[in-house]
């Protein structure tokens, strides 16, 4: 079974290998493992891990709850701050967030496994279908949320909790945003993203309308006219161009599309992959694409990044993961030209780069990497339309510290705003905080105009 022939082919592996390759990267800790891992937490005062978490989860408390056999209480501690705590436990680059701040690093260079413990507690609660939140009395206010990704879902949940009626518009077939379409398969197995969407929506008061795209099916003005407030969390739909000759050749693929296709595929063997694959980029998307290409049976996978290792957006952990799967990461190489043979990709010409006078510059030295397939993973762009006169900066929506945009009654958060890191957890924090801001605004408006003494 399987094939190593050149070109882009499906079924490179034996059927059983696909299942192994795309199984859970870090299986859930069992009860005893969780107790042992939890025991390593020192229950720090004003804990650095908590400060490092964009959603400020009370990490020492939730871990202590695990250690006392109270995973349900632990899950509530997590969800209180981050209703998508289950996905964040799977995809957060914990090694640069909470686990980097863990004092155990100073003591013994090995942090408490905060991410895996969070996964444990949230899994227990979600498996037992424990719900912790009820809607407040209905306020009669209606809020539109654009985008059912991490920011939109977090905002919608918090708004529904406060008694508002929420309508979420999403351009794609399924809710979840990047959680559903943009994350490597082995990080969110068993349809977890959809289970989490169901878990979030179970609070009630949230209607999700799929297949409706801002700018195509409705405009921001439509929303502001019909809703008391609007939250924009539609992420980034565009992909940066390589700006290299031959970019449009068959075999040159957007990494995000490849990742999405793989996530949606019932049968991973049906996804074709090249024998030799080159991924252009240095972020999480590049690693997700490269690793999964390898897991699909590509013989040779190379990531080309135009700067040094220390500049890569992919975390150290992700880089190591790629290396462990046999992906070669090469630095200081930029794409110059896609080489075709018989109308198809045959390789890529790359040029060495260096920093010269503070600017990235090609050295003139070039080389050719053989490739049947090239993935573009050099960043995404905000494709904005239907936003009217909303203030933008650097191609993203401008917001203040509470997520308010330049337009009255319109908030925004997640990757489409220019603030914070482009992480799931950051988006959750921004969605949640914008919802709180919306709620404050609506509550203030609901109060009598003068005090009654």
């Amino acid at each position: 079974m399987g094939t190593t022939q050149s070109g882009i082919h499906r079924g490179r592996l034996a059927p059983a290998e696909y299942e192994t390759n795309f199984s859970d990267l870090h299986p859930r800790l069992d009860d005893h493992e969780a107790l042992v891992a939890a025991d390593r937490c020192y229950f720090c005062h004003d804990a650095p891990c908590m400060t490092a978490c964009p959603t400020s989860i009370d990490i020492p408390l939730f871990i202590r709850q695990i250690s006392t056999g109270n995973p349900i209480g632990s899950a509530k501690t997590i969800f209180d701050q981050n209703i998508l705590g289950g996905m964040c436990a799977r995809v957060c680059p914990t090694e640069t967030l909470c686990e980097q701040a863990c004092v155990r690093n100073t003591a013994e260079h090995r942090p408490v496994e905060i991410g895996r413990l969070q996964r444990y507690a949230t899994d227990v609660a979600m498996t037992e279908n424990k719900h912790f939140y009820e809607r407040a009395a209905r306020t009669g206010k209606a809020i539109a949320v654009v985008g059912a990704g991490p920011a939109g879902l977090a905002a919608a949940h918090r708004l529904a909790m406060n008694g508002h009626d929420v309508v979420v518009f999403d351009a794609r077939e399924k809710a979840g945003g990047l959680n559903e379409y943009g994350i490597a398969t082995y990080k969110a197995v068993d349809d977890f993203a959809q289970k989490e969407v169901d878990y979030v929506l179970a609070i009630g008061g949230i209607e999700v309308k799929n297949g409706l795209k801002l700018g195509r099916d409705f405009s921001l003005a439509d929303l502001t006219a019909n809703f008391d407030a609007v939250f924009l969390g539609m992420g980034l739909a565009g992909v940066n161009a390589l700006r290299a000759e031959g970019e449009t050749l068959p075999g040159v693929v957007d990494a995000v599309d490849f990742i999405a296709e793989l996530r949606q595929a019932e049968d991973k063997a049906a996804i074709p992959v090249g024998r030799r694959v080159v991924v252009i980029g240095g972020g999480m998307t590049a690693v997700d694409a490269a690793v999964q290409a390898k897991l699909l049976g590509a013989e040779e996978v190379t990531i080309c990044y135009r700067r040094g290792k220390e500049h890569m957006n992919a975390s150290e952990f992700e880089q190591d993961l790629a290396a462990s799967k046999g992906v070669m990461i090469r630095h200081w190489l930029q794409p110059k030209r896609v080489i075709a043979k018989d109308g198809h990709v045959a390789g890529i010409e790359v040029e060495y780069t260096e920093m010269r006078d503070g600017a990235l510059t090609g050295t003139g030295e070039t080389g050719v990497l053989a490739a049947d397939q090239i993935f573009k993973a050099i960043g995404q762009t905000f494709e904005a339309s239907g936003l009217g006169s909303l203030a933008m900066s650097g191609g993203r929506i401008v917001v203040d510290s509470e997520g308010r945009t330049s337009t009255a009654n319109v908030w925004a958060g997640g990757d489409c705003v220019k603030a914070g890191e482009d992480l799931t957890v950051t988006s959750v924090a921004q969605g949640r905080d914008a919802a709180d801001s919306i709620n404050r605004m609506l509550a203030a408006g609901a109060q009598p105009a003068f005090a009654v003494a």
Partner: protein, 437 residues
């Protein structure tokens, strides 16, 4: 190499590690294995009087508490004395002693508190060649309901009486095993001495309910829906045992009486602590029941290495060495002043010292200095209580540093007085003894 040979009330063994009277010493099979592993002696599981043996429950006999990784911290049991026939035990004891003449073999005995009962069993035991007897006045469960074990150990007059009978009816050395389930351990120890005992051993297990089954609302171990208090032992009881050993070791009335130390001994270090607090040797049970007999090898080599490192040649060099330094609170030097000091290089910034001091003690440790997370002792607030040292997860990160005489104590604003002064002479003490004019 340090000489670990032990001579306890004339009973010789190659090392001071004996197995206590308990399930590990119930029969020849176990005891042979223990001797092969290197144990210096055993106290055979308690013999009862002739006749139908006692019966044990057929459900769970043990309960425990654990650390996070199921590390056993405390064990409790409701097992009774041997449930084997007296003569089977005696026959096996005799054979084992013949097989292992260099090891100590002690018979633990518990019979009704009547002279005839003791008079009857002692010759039978003596005939086995056992090196001595240990009187089980400690067992807190089951047997005590029948007027034996702790029921005797809790009444000093009974102790004295039984010890006297034993000294009268046997030539074997008598070790009186004491129960900790009393308010002042010195009372039964003095009674044993008055009766003529050669030594005491302590502690036996502590009355305990180890945990409660919250689904069935019954104590653990639960036998058919009900539970009873058991005897608590293992690492958790060591501090209680150490104190009781020290109390007897420094009591003028029992000073010098040999003590066999028992209670939670799990490592060589535990054993060394019992020895320096006045024990002539030690007995171990729970550690063996948790890890098997092999642990004695760690104890032997560990004790030996420590003694070599410190230049102690034999057990006489260390036994009782800490006893003179155990005193009453009233004699502690109130002019001694220490302050906590945090090693900033070792500090991992967990903040536990700060919150412990801030919430529960003397508000003497910073959390921020110039806006940066930084934990430092404020000497003008620190009373030297040592809580921060105890809650710090990093070894030797926080230490207590004694102030030299003459140095200013920033808390009181006074220099450290070089003179020793304790509560008995302190001006705030209404009972203070005035120095003679």
């Amino acid at each position: 190499m340090a000489d670990l040979r032990n001579n306890f009330v004339g009973i010789k063994s190659p090392n001071p590690f004996w197995l206590a009277s308990a399930p590990p010493t119930d029969k020849a099979y176990n005891v042979e294995r223990a001797f092969k592993a290197g144990w210096g002696g055993v106290v055979w599981k308690t013999l009862g009087e002739e006749g139908p043996p006692v019966v044990n429950v057929n459900g769970p006999r043990y309960g425990a508490i654990w650390g996070a990784d199921r590390r056993l911290l405390g064990l409790n049991n409701i097992e009774l004395i041997t449930d084997r026939d007296l003569y089977t035990n005696l026959r096996e004891m005799k054979q084992v002693k013949m097989n292992w003449p260099d090891r100590a073999l002690i018979a633990s005995i518990m019979v009704p508190c009547e002279e005839e009962s003791w008079k009857a069993i002692l010759p039978l035991v003596e005939e086995t060649g056992a090196d001595g007897i240990e009187l089980n006045f400690g067992c807190p469960h089951g047997m005590s309901e029948r007027g034996m074990g702790a029921a005797v150990g809790q009444v000093p007059e009974y102790i004295e009486m039984v010890v006297r009978w034993c000294k009268q009816y046997t030539r074997m050395p008598v070790i009186t095993k004491l129960t900790p389930n009393i308010t002042d351990i010195r009372k039964p120890a003095r009674a044993a001495k008055a009766g003529g005992t050669d030594a005491v051993s302590l502690i036996n297990t502590i009355n305990s309910i180890v945990s409660v089954d919250l689904d069935n609302f019954a104590p653990n171990p639960t036998v058919g829906g009900k539970g009873t208090h058991g005897g608590y032992c293992g690492p958790a009881v060591k501090p209680i045992a150490l104190n009781m050993v020290a109390e007897i070791a420094r009591d003028p009335e029992t000073y010098g009486m040999p003590i066999s130390g028992i209670g939670g001994i799990t490592t060589w270090r535990d054993a060394a602590e019992f020895l320096v607090l006045g024990s002539g040797n030690v007995q171990v049970c729970t550690a063996a029941m948790t890890y098997g007999f092999k642990i004695v090898q760690e104890m032997i080599t560990g004790l030996s290495s420590w003694m070599d490192a410190k230049g102690h040649r034999d057990l006489d060099d260390i036994c009782g060495r800490a006893v003179p330094n155990v005193t009453d609170w009233q004699y502690l030097n109130l002019n001694y002043i220490a302050k906590a000091k945090i090693d900033q290089d070792a500090c991992i910034k967990c903040g536990r010292c700060h919150i412990a001091c801030e919430d529960t003690s003397h508000q003497a440790i910073t959390q921020f200095v110039n806006g940066v997370r930084h934990f430092e002792v404020m000497e003008d607030e620190c009373v030297g209580c040592n809580l921060c040292v105890n809650v710090c997860p990093v070894e030797n990160c926080i230490t207590m540093v004694g102030l030299e005489p003459g140095v200013l104590d920033q808390r009181t604003g006074k220099p450290v007085d070089p003179n020793y002064a304790n509560w008995t002479t302190h001006p705030n003490n209404p009972m203070a003894k005035q120095a003679a004019e």
